[in-house]
Symmetry: C2
Subunit: 575 residues, 2 copies
């Protein structure tokens, strides 16, 4: 491809609201352009990368035995009403009416469509299992589209759905997708972790994993072990807490000292209480009042810990969960917010495991401006509902191995595998006849990859001050040939010869045939991030070129033939 | 691919409203399924065909130097308001609001988006010309979706747009797309004609061609010459009419007989007048009153001819044109509908060329229940506005060659190339600086292919009573291997061996490994329409098979090796 003909400009400046590096770089390099908030055009360079990712996804899906189809974007609203998601999905679901006033949704996902499709096509166990996938434009009206392709409103997704006759079958289908995902992200050259995620009310044990591209900009927190391969997202991650020291700071054996009520005027927050009493936050027991399905409950966590509402909601089996307002707290505890405590509490108390390991602690006294000291869990309040209700924190013990400690990373969710079970097959009637002629619901799994998001995730992981650094497998071109001066015949001749030879090898080559200054050309090349660059300059007459590897920016002056050999070696997997 | 795992069922019955053969066959063969009116899912077999068509389109677009990108489906309504099409487009444009109540349209086409994109990327003649294309799902809320994929509401389209600095440049870009289209439809194995079409107010001479797949179900009429390569759609086709006989049926020389008013009670239609007076429809001059931009005009055509409203509208330069209602006709002619005539008419009269060639004719008398005989064009009414205002009819003389006569075909529009000129670049401000530093509007062309419609068009052209007959280049698989009995080891072994050998040659093979009766298998195979079928039956033990060519259904019993050779010969272009 001649760069003089390539559509798309490089930009010096990008909008101030482009916060993420990937967003800025893809705008600057002319890979994408915004049409509306969260809605982008892929220019030829960006589209080439996307097509390569798509190709890898397709190859690995096919290899895993999944069959490709294409479902419509426009979905009748009745389907969503049948599954019960039409209202639940909220304003993220884009709704429209056709000319006959019939309601439609623009598909953010296709469980409804695929389940009714399979319901109509398959009625016997003989035709199962089957895994189906599509690569398609999806629509989701995000409240706050941001970071370019990372959180868009119209995006490219691969979604797959498996249908089995048993949970063991589902496990195999799931495993097969899990492995395909691992190959896909590996082949794309991504640094990622597959992490356990919360499956909510369905999915069962090991029922869902998220594939996270590690990147600072990521909106998700991944918790992983320094020693073993344990990894989970923050909603799901558990940890181990050792029993705290059995001696308090004054040297007295704790647990034997009786509770004491102390006047603590205007000390509501953990920080205020700690400062006032001269204790550490981890010596305080924090009491929070929630309303779960309209019933108040209290949850206790250590003062330095955060409640994990997903864990709490799962433990309660609640549909809804939210922090109680001031009135509800007052009614439930007899005290204003900031002075609640478990002693004498009338509502159910859910005690985080780390609190059960405390020898004693400070709590609210359920009375304005008073706290209790020397409160002993199990002695002064019941531990009937103990469990893991908090976010794991860095430094906690790994729940899987004895030795490791937990650490945090930031991640971008690029894939998700999920055991749906019979949620949709029950609701939408996707049944099959088993060998005994009995009707059974199909056991489903669903599997998504954010195809366009990968573009951004890789850019986040792989760039420097000067531009993007594409992994060879998904680079828009593999080699960038740059004659420094297109007015110099030796340079243009050698550059063209290299272009022809590389192209003949099956490589994709961009040649910068523009009549521009060398600095402009080199800047654009750095921005584009093509893995190998051959600069054909003054040494062209002697058959020598400068070979630059984009990642390291290492340069070597070598003969044109040697450059060909180096590139062939470097790209052996692609030729 | 093992047929036992293939997703999608063959159907015996299809809905009664599936009128078109392609619609019925693709439903029956399990290629597509309807989700809502005009909205379809492509099952794996249908999707494979579609992907092959897509691949051919992409290859030929790239070969023609067009660059691929992808624009969003969701387009801000402001863009459509800026171009002036938001209201004009009517209910076919699907409209929606996002969560912030901003208006969007779902793209039925992308002139607005591409023009503003190019406006922002290109500002100098140095960066032109450029042709950009995408293959994308389009949305059009058809009033009456029908014929399966032939007229859908969500469909796959290739749309391309060219940007030039001159009309000569546009001509080259246009020609390049025209040739690419010819290669695409040839490669897809389609029978088609490129026909001249009406370019309306813009486009200029030779400004637009439609690519028509010939098929009876087609909604368009193509007019072509029996002798030369003239072809146009009915809106555009012109023809040559010889002067009528200069002697009337009574033997008197016509043109010298004066007009005569005749009482013709209740004879309003051409048929009634012809019957009452004992003349032929082509001896009658039909007078129709239209309202063009709110002004009444009359148009005269021969009694056996139809007014071509597009030609009339173009000649009038009118924005709107519709038949006058009874009141307007009464006011304009002084007579009720059915008795209008040119003699003494006060409103402008547009006379079709075929009428100017009549020696004399019968017309209305502008008086209820009266007609005039022996009316001579040019003598009894003016021919100031004469022209081609009628549809060409079969048997008319060809406007291009001396010898041919015109004939009709039915066609399905599968492609369209159009010289847009500066319509969008002027409205949306897509200007560039010419070598003199002066701002000029870009000269545009647009080029569409109905990718999913091709699937149906080919099925219409290529099927028989038993099913679809796919051209090899786009068949879902090229070879269908059918062991008659999967319980017979000799058969399954030989079938598997053939499957492996054919696959190793790079062919796509479907093997019917189902435990079904031979009749079921053969019926399904006929329905699928895979070009070559190898039936592995009782002769398998002796290494012999039956090779069936789907198109002819010719069978030959030959050795497995000979079958391999026959197939390799037949599919030489694909291997």
């Amino acid at each position: 491809m001649k760069q003089s003909s390539l559509f798309g400009s490089t930009l010096r400046d990008v909008p101030a609201d482009a916060e993420a590096a990937s967003h800025r770089l893809m705008l600057r390099a002319g890979f994408i352009r915004q049409l509306a908030a969260g809605i982008y055009t892929y220019l030829p360079l960006g589209w080439r990368v996307l097509r390569k990712i798509e190709h890898i996804v397709r190859e690995e899906m096919d290899r895993a035995g999944a069959q490709e189809l294409l479902m419509p974007a426009m979905q009748p609203a009745e389907l969503w009403k049948e599954s019960g998601r039409y209202n639940v999905y909220g304003p993220e679901l884009i709704r429209l009416k056709d000319r006959h006033d019939r309601e439609f949704a623009l598909g953010p996902t296709h469980e409804e469509v695929i389940t009714t499709l399979v319901r109509n096509e398959i009625n016997s166990y003989r035709r199962l299992p089957v895994t189906l996938y599509q690569i398609q434009t999806k629509f989701r009206d995000e409240r706050r589209p941001r970071f370019g392709l990372l959180r868009g409103r119209e995006f490219l997704m691969k979604d797959a759905y498996s249908f089995d006759t048993s949970w063991e079958g589902l496990h195999d289908s799931y495993q097969s997708m899990y492995e395909a995902y691992t190959r896909i992200f590996d082949r794309c050259g991504m640094t990622f972790r597959a992490v356990e995620a919360d499956a909510g009310a369905i999915g069962g044990e090991g029922g869902t994993h998220e594939f996270m591209a590690l990147a600072e900009i990521g909106e998700d927190t991944i918790v992983s072990c320094t020693h073993c391969d344990y990894a989970a997202n923050l909603e799901k991650a558990t940890s181990v807490i050792r029993r705290s020291e059995a001696v308090d700071s004054s040297g007295t054996s704790v647990g034997e000292i009786p509770m004491a009520k102390i006047h603590t005027p205007d000390t509501r927050s953990i920080q205020q209480v700690a400062a006032f009493l001269g204790v550490q936050p981890h010596e305080i027991i924090k009491t929070l009042v929630y309303v779960a399905d309209e019933q108040p409950v209290a949850v206790l966590v250590r003062g330095d810990h955060e409640v994990n509402e997903i864990k709490l909601k799962n433990a309660l089996g609640a549909e809804s969960l939210e922090l109680a307002d001031a009135d509800t707290t007052m009614r439930a505890t007899g005290a204003p917010v900031g002075f609640a405590g478990p002693v004498g509490m009338k509502i159910p108390i859910y005690v985080d495991q780390a609190v059960t390991e405390m020898a004693e602690g400070v709590t609210g006294a359920n009375e304005a401006d008073y706290h209790l000291r020397h409160v002993v869990p199990g002695r002064d309040f019941e531990l009937a509902h103990a469990g893991d209700f908090r976010n794991a924190v860095e430094g906690d013990g790994c729940p899987r191995c004895e030795e490791g400690k937990l650490q945090y990373h930031r991640g971008i969710e690029v894939g998700h595998v999920f055991k749906l079970g019979t949620k949709y097959s029950e609701t939408l009637g996707a049944k099959y006849l088993d060998p005994n002629g009995r009707e059974q619901p199909m056991i489903m799994g669903c599997y998504g990859i954010g195809v366009s998001r990968i573009l951004s995730a890789i850019t986040e992981q792989s760039h420097d001050d000067r531009g993007i650094i594409w992994p060879a497998a998904i680079a828009p071109y593999q080699v960038h040939v740059i004659p420094v001066s297109v007015k110099d015949e030796a340079q243009t001749t050698l550059a063209q010869e290299l272009y022809d030879r590389l192209t003949a090898q099956g490589l994709e080559v961009l040649i910068d045939d523009r009549d521009e200054r060398a600095g402009v050309k080199f800047n654009d090349a750095d921005l584009f991030g093509i893995p190998y660059r051959i600069v054909v300059g003054k040494l062209a007459a002697g058959g020598e070129v400068e070979l630059v590897e984009r990642r390291s920016l290492e340069k070597q002056v070598i003969s044109a033939d040697e450059a060909m050999t180096c590139i062939a070696d470097g790209l052996r997997n692609l030729i």
